[in-house]
């Protein structure tokens, strides 16, 4: 499908009987691995269920892989994989049987479903355990089976709802590695998480939601250029701070040190000009990279990505 956006959303609003879960979102998601981040209750799961066509928007339009999930839900779901956050495994079936069954539910013939079930369980590291009953699996193994059922039918897009939820650090690391590998296999992924470091580790694009509003959407790579700049000068600190503040920059002063930003590369140029103008004597200037958390905790600041 080339470079077409995998998701296009215009003016999307969804409310649950008066409680607004998503409010007038305009959003596009390109191919690749996209992180959907936000606190609990931000609207991430609602967004995923809307993409699947399991919920209908109160207003607005959306397309997923070129199809409207409201009017063509089966066409959308035939090409999607979904890993729910909560329990979704029958405890009395083997992993191989369950994953093969979900492949058949996606329309694969039984023999092919069984073959792909084995291959996919191998991919997620459960080749030895595939004939064990799911009720005997640990949480980490269950998460892997959930991932396997989401990708067994070779979907165009996989929706992962908190895939690392409930896992210990080692399990979390392994799950994030698997998500990264999906990107390497050219599978489009939208992964929701409230853990920002998970998104930083796995995604190339990020969508931030906050209480139903779109906070930011853009490539993760650009975020590194939007950290704050640490400056050390020899004199006239207050005058320099005042000059930078007049340019609309956020400035914190501590002794002869200033923290300016966050912001883009124009900050450095402004610092150089104002340091010279204030005759402050620049000792050093270091840009720190911004984490998603930094940006997420500054909802008032508009950042163009």
């Amino acid at each position: 499908m080339g470079q077409d956006n995998i998701v296009e959303i215009t003016g999307l609003t969804h409310d649950y009987g008066g409680v607004v879960a998503l409010r007038a979102l305009d959003l596009t998601v390109p191919p690749g691995v996209t992180g959907l981040v936000g606190a609990n209750g931000a609207g991430k799961t609602t967004m995923l269920r809307l993409l699947l066509g399991l919920l209908h928007p109160t207003s607005g339009k959306m397309t997923v892989m070129g199809h409207d999930p409201e009017t063509e839900p089966l066409a959308v779901r035939a090409r999607l994989g979904y890993m729910p956050e909560g329990d979704c495994l029958p405890k009395d079936q083997t992993a191989a049987d369950f994953v093969a069954y979900t492949a058949q539910l996606a329309g694969l013939p039984p023999s092919e479903a069984r073959r792909r079930s084995s291959e996919t369980l191998f991919l997620v590291g459960l080749e030895e355990e595939r004939f064990r009953y799911l009720g005997d699996f640990s949480t980490g193994m269950q998460q892997r089976v959930k991932l396997a059922q989401a990708i067994v039918h070779d979907p165009d897009l996989v929706l992962l709802d908190e895939p690392a939820s409930g896992l210990d650090p080692a399990g979390r690391s392994q799950m994030l590695h698997l998500v990264r590998r999906l990107g390497e296999f050219d599978i489009n992924v939208i992964v929701s998480s409230h853990v920002l470091t998970d998104i930083e580790e796995t995604c190339s694009w990020v969508v931030m939601l906050d209480a139903g509003d779109l906070l930011r959407s853009g490539p993760l790579q650009g975020f590194e250029q939007r950290g704050s700049v640490q400056v050390e000068v020899v004199a006239n600190v207050a005058q320099l701070a005042e000059r930078l503040a007049r340019r609309g920059l956020q400035v914190t002063v501590e002794g002869l040190h200033l923290v300016v930003g966050p912001g883009d590369q124009k900050i450095e140029q402004a610092i150089l000009e104002e340091t010279a103008a204030a005759e402050s004597g620049l000792v050093r200037m270091i840009r720190g990279s911004a984490s998603l958390e930094d940006l997420f905790l500054q909802p008032g600041q508009e950042v163009t990505l």
Binding site: L54, L74, D87, T94, Y101, L105
Partner: protein, 293 residues
């Protein structure tokens, strides 16, 4: 010795056939049959269904044996050898106990274990899911009723003094009466079992509720129908377990009189109540699952 190498096979794309919603429904149907029969499940989940099947087949074998060993005596004591219609009385208890297990087991685990969220992320509608589940239910439960009757019919034909073909020719009516009676039993009991299973989250409680509505329920309905208040007779139709038996009696010309018949209702009324029960059950179950999807 050569070095051992583990190859990472990566991920293989799939460009083959995709059967779409019809394939999804077929998968649910096949899984439903496997679930009810305990196939692909732990051994303890196979015990109950296969015990019921074994009992039903054993009953057919016993009746054939009775005819074989004491055929002449049986003829002279023909009242004592169960007819096809009377055999439904025996089978209906096996069927009732089987349905009490099969209905809850078919619907409840998918719901309580959250598996529906995976199923409905596939090209599968709520209606498709329910139709496939009901199809699986009807196939297995129908077989519980019909297969022993087929075994009995063939067995009696084989031991008949008149010869197999003559016996078959003389009893052609069995070929439609048995399926129609089976349909009445499966429809009435199935509608009730699936309705309760759609709203109760514990299989054991759903099974108990099903048996409670049918067994004590018929005595209660019969008692109330004899009361003197206006419209009391209509409560006899709430003895749901009697309704398919009234259909059976009419088809096989048996002479048991049920409370509903005593107050003037016939087999057609019973059939109509069964049909209405199916419609109400279908509406409520569908509504429940549309909210869950």
């Amino acid at each position: 010795m050569t070095d051992q190498v583990i190859y990472d096979r990566g991920y293989r794309t799939y460009d083959g056939e995709r059967t779409g919603p019809s394939g999804a429904r077929k998968a649910v149907y096949k899984d439903g049959i496997r679930r009810v029969l305990g196939l692909g499940r732990k051994a303890r989940e196979k015990i109950y269904p296969w015990l019921m099947i074994a009992i039903a087949l054993a009953m057919a074998a016993v009746v054939i044996g009775v005819h074989w060993f004491i055929g002449d005596l049986a003829q002279s004591l023909s009242e004592g050898v169960p007819s096809y219609g009377e055999l439904f009385d025996l089978y209906s208890w096996i069927g009732l106990l089987f349905i009490a297990f099969a209905g809850p087991w078919l619907l409840i685990p998918d719901r309580t274990r959250g598996v529906l969220s995976v199923y409905f992320s596939r090209p599968l509608t709520v209606d498709g899911y329910l139709v496939a589940k009901v199809g699986a239910f009807a196939t297995v439960v129908g077989a519980i009723y019909v297969i022993p009757q087929v075994v009995l019919h063939l067995g009696l034909g084989l031991i008949s003094d008149d010869g197999f073909l003559t016996y078959m020719g003389d009893n052609l009516d069995v070929l439609w009466k048995v399926p129609v009676t089976t349909l009445a039993f499966v429809a009435m009991h199935g509608a009730l079992a699936l309705l309760l299973s759609a709203f109760i989250n514990r299989p054991g409680i759903a099974s108990a509720a099903f048996l409670g509505v049918l067994i004590p329920g018929r005595f209660i309905a019969a008692q109330i129908s004899e009361a003197s208040f206006a419209g009391a007779r209509w409560t006899s139709l709430l003895a749901f377990d009697h309704l398919p038996r009234m259909v059976r009696d009419t088809l096989f010309r048996d002479t048991v009189t049920y409370p509903a018949e005593a107050v003037g209702f016939g087999a057609w009324t019973a059939a109509a109540v069964i049909a209405v029960s199916i419609v109400i059950s279908a509406i409520l179950v569908r509504s429940r699952y549309r909210r869950l999807a």
